[in-house]
């Protein structure tokens, strides 16, 4: 017990109760958690990098198929999804901003909007998938789309479903993570002096937006 009391006294000397004992101060801790998150985001970029590589190789192999198949994707929907994710990125960064200026209710509202737009994105994309399913614009041997007969067309839809599918999984995970963070924000766990989980959740959400920024012109505007 005496040791505990001593440890607490030691923490208090350096400031915040959230400060882990192995960090000198909150700033060092924040640098460490951010660096850890950036390393994780780097692995995420490399994960998508493999798919971007597959996209590039098959696009150079089957340029006609890429052009024709891209025209059959729902471009207005793609544009709407892009606006949706960009706006959700904005509300995410505003949630962090409002936490830092100690406006908890606004921060929670922004997080709810962010999650709502994330789920909205999934609904929009689900609707697109449904139409592609009905048309038979599916990958590999399941492809039976009547309107495009270019060689390599099933490859376009394989790459399309893999890239957008992996991205949608990330949107879903991001929305779930933000749901937990929103709950803790509403409980007042975060404030101007401690917002690390909110900060990291935001970084993840922005990465999801960042990937879509590249997917949109690559898939919809070939």
């Amino acid at each position: 017990m005496a040791e505990h009391a001593e440890a607490h006294a030691h923490d208090d000397e350096h400031g915040h109760p959230r400060l882990q004992h192995h960090f000198q101060d909150m700033r060092t801790q924040q640098h460490a958690v951010r660096l850890g998150m950036w390393l994780f985001l780097a692995t995420e970029i490399l994960l998508f990098g493999g798919l971007f590589c597959a996209y590039s190789v098959y696009r150079t192999l089957f340029p006609e198929a890429w052009h024709e198949c891209s025209r059959h994707l729902n471009r207005p929907f793609g544009l709407l999804e892009t606006f949706d994710l960009i706006t959700s990125s904005f509300t995410m960064v505003m949630a962090i901003h409002f936490t830092r200026v100690n406006r908890r209710k606004l921060s929670v509202l922004m997080l709810i909007l962010t999650i709502g737009m994330g789920l909205g994105f999934l609904c929009l994309h689900g609707y697109e998938y449904y139409h592609e399913w009905l048309e038979g614009a599916l990958p590999g041997k399941f492809y039976h789309f009547d309107e495009v007969h270019a060689q390599g067309a099933p490859m376009f839809f394989a790459v399309y479903f893999l890239m957008t599918g992996l991205h949608s999984i990330h949107v879903f995970i991001g929305a779930a993570v933000l749901g937990v963070i929103c709950w803790f924000t509403a409980r007042g766990e975060y404030g101007p002096d401690y917002d690390h989980p909110l900060d990291l959740g935001g970084l993840y959400w922005h990465l999801v937006d960042l990937i879509w920024i590249f997917l949109f012109p690559l898939l919809y505007l070939v």
Binding site: A42, G49, T60, L61, H97, A150, F216
Partner: protein, 117 residues
Amino acid sequence: MAHDAHEHKHSARPYILTVLALYCLTILTFMLGVHVSLGEGSFAIAMAIAFTKGMLVILFFMHLWDQAGPNRLTMAIAVLFVILLIVLACADEATRFPLALPPGSFRSIGHTPPVLP
């Protein structure tokens, strides 16, 4: 650290300007992609716009503008490796002789325009 001084300003203005720029660039890329045919150049322009949008998100939304050097280095190296992967894989594919390419693909033996069943 000097760059941490920015973190304590707490102004929402950069975020609003960033999201407006992102909206404008999205509309621009959509208009160029759908209504303007620039041939081979359109891909390069679309990618240039996407990179600009990506940089805006990374620098201002993800706060890399005022974060420590190692974080920037991590991101830069990840992007560099993806670019290396894509460039080298495409260089490999582009320098193959036709027999090594999948049937029906561009530059392969017997490459024909789209065939109707």
